[in-house]
């Protein structure tokens, strides 16, 4: 099974620039994940100020808002996609991250088998 580990920095956007030391520790961690054969993909994201937000109302009407965003809310700073044998294993890996002032959310990736038959048929007919 696959798990997404979303990293939420709990610091101000302007403080997102990491130190060389932090980057070194994170690289070693990523390398450890890779050498354990678990790592499928990973990326770090630019701060949300450079991004945009597309929101939909109940009628699928899209509204685009460019950053920076005034309202304070949790934003994703990066992610790892890993293969693990259980949620506990994914959580154990997340616990080993050399992060500081951040939160990692561990979420299992949905697979087609997780859905009821009608949803699967709709997906297959696409």
């Amino acid at each position: 099974m696959r798990f997404m580990m979303f990293m939420y920095p709990e610091i101000e956007e302007e403080d997102w620039e990491p130190t060389a030391e932090d980057v070194g520790a994170m690289s070693r961690y990523n390398e450890e994940l890779r050498k354990a054969g678990m790592l499928l993909a990973l990326d770090g994201l630019h701060p949300p100020g450079d991004g945009a937000s597309v929101s939909f109302d109940g009628d699928n009407e899209a509204t685009v808002t460019d950053g920076p965003f005034t309202e304070a809310k949790e934003v994703v700073g990066g992610y790892w996609l890993i293969q693990a044998r259980s949620k506990e294993e994914a959580v154990e890996w997340a616990s080993r991250c050399p992060g500081r002032n951040c939160r990692i959310e561990v979420r299992r990736v949905q697979e087609l088998e997780d859905f009821p038959d009608d949803v699967r048929e709709a997906a297959e007919g696409a």
Binding site: K35, A36, S86, E88, E124, A126
Partner: protein, 425 residues
């Protein structure tokens, strides 16, 4: 944390740490069986201690320290008993090794070397193929004996015995715990690759075993293949194998129909191929191509799989390249099955006559006698040439040979269609 939750957390730690633990201990005690026993003792200690104390910050180091202490105790106790001289010498050596290494944390490179040595030891050519597979799943995958037994539909005591015998064989032969170098590495790598490939295929082809374990076996093989490629980056076939596995795994969702029947590669819904795994497979293939020497058998099969993966539709498939790759594969790893596939590729690349010509040349092969794909491929090529009556006879022959009911149905239908078309002129 509840006891059940702590239990699951300990199991997770064990899965992550056990291979490294056994590998590190095996380097010291020079015996994978003893190393596994010591690691198991440490696990038992963790199961007793951690529910009360909580999981320590560095659980791997805790397990290693506990296992080493246990080894030192064992060596001391054994010394007081009356035993053969050589065993005594071994224990003294063991104690010295343990005491020396007690305060040295192993460097990353050493951990990697230990793991690689463990992979090569589990896959030692002295052991039978079944023993290699079981020992690898046990010591590198951290699978339990019942898990291995259900994967291969074999009784638990059989697997347990297989494991005990394998460990004894390694000990009795005095197999050194090390990564082979130079020519010996080249000679022993295929045995490692074969084990990983077998584990993958057992999960993928589902010839036996319970449903829940199959995806787990495929994932385990992928994990082992990635570890091997990371630990032995100079070996083109390590990259070739993982490239092949990643690309094959990318088709998992598309390879079975709604009723569980196999869907042929060219009939698969390509939108259901996993682009992440394809990307990983193509990247691994590139590493195999960049490494020293030409592609080996796994690399070539990966390159063939990559031709399919790159084609957005079946019509875009580069059959000329596939035929050339099968030709190269037939040179270094000749087999009737490779020839059969080469005939298909030739038929697609250069027309049905080219495929038929090769089929005629190999049809006397004893290995292909009774193999339903031979008449099935022949029928396909004959049908394309408009020789429908001959095609119908081949499809009927193939239908009689296959053991798969769905396939038989499909082949009979194709035979019927040929006969009708023939009858209609």
């Amino acid at each position: 944390m509840s006891d059940a939750a702590t239990g699951r957390a300990i199991e997770a730690v064990w899965r992550i740490e056990s291979a490294r633990l056994v590998a590190g201990l095996a380097r010291m005690v020079r015996d994978v069986g003893l190393a596994e026993d010591l690691a198991q003792d440490a696990l038992v200690a963790a199961l007793e201690r951690w529910p009360r104390s909580g999981v320590p910050d560095n659980p791997g180091a805790w397990l290693m320290a506990t296992a080493k202490n246990r080894a030192i105790d064992l060596a001391r106790r054994n010394k007081t008993l009356e035993r053969k001289q050589e065993e005594l010498a071994r224990d003294v050596g063991l104690r010295m090794a343990l005491e020396r290494s007690e305060f040295e944390a192993a460097a990353d490179e050493e951990v990697g070397d230990d793991l690689l040595a463990l992979i090569f030891t589990c896959c030692h050519p002295l052991l039978s193929r079944e023993a290699r597979v079981a020992l690898t799943l046990r010591l590198l995958g951290g699978l339990t004996t019942p898990e291995i037994a259900s994967a291969f539909l074999v009784k638990e005591p059989t697997i347990a015995q297989r494991l005990v015998r394998a460990k004894r064989t390694l000990r009795d032969a005095g197999v050194p715990f090390e990564v082979p170098r130079g020519d010996e590495l080249d000679a022993r790598l295929p045995s490692v690759l074969e084990v990983i490939y077998l584990v993958f295929n057992e999960g993928y082809a589902a010839s036996a075993g319970e449903d829940w374990i199959r995806p787990a076996l495929c994932e385990e093989a992928l994990r082992l293949g990635r570890i091997l490629a990371a630990l032995a980056p100079g070996e083109p076939e390590a990259h070739g194998l993982i490239a092949l596995l990643e690309i094959q795994a990318s088709r998992t969702a598309a390879r079975l129909g709604p009723g569980g029947e196999p869907v042929l590669l060219l009939d698969q819904d390509r939108s259901r191929w996993d682009p992440l795994l394809i990307g990983r497979g193509l990247a691994a293939l590139e590493r195999a191509e960049r490494a020293r020497g030409p592609l080996g058998p796994y690399g070539l099969q990966a390159a063939i799989a990559a031709c399919h993966a790159r084609a957005r539709e079946p019509g875009e498939t580069d059959w000329v390249r596939i035929a050339a790759l099968y030709d190269a594969l037939a040179q270094i790893a000749p087999s009737p099955i490779v020839e059969l596939n080469r005939a298909v590729a030739l038929g697609m690349a250069f027309g049905p006559e080219a495929g038929l010509e090769l089929l005629d040349a190999i049809s006397a092969e004893p290995a292909l006698r009774g193999y339903h794909l031979l008449p099935s491929v022949r029928g396909d090529l004959l049908e394309k040439l408009g020789r429908r009556e001959e095609a119908a006879a081949e499809f009927e022959r193939a239908a009689a040979l296959t053991e798969n009911a769905r396939e038989r149905e499909l082949l009979s239908r194709r035979a019927g269609a040929c006969r009708r078309a023939q009858g209609g002129g």
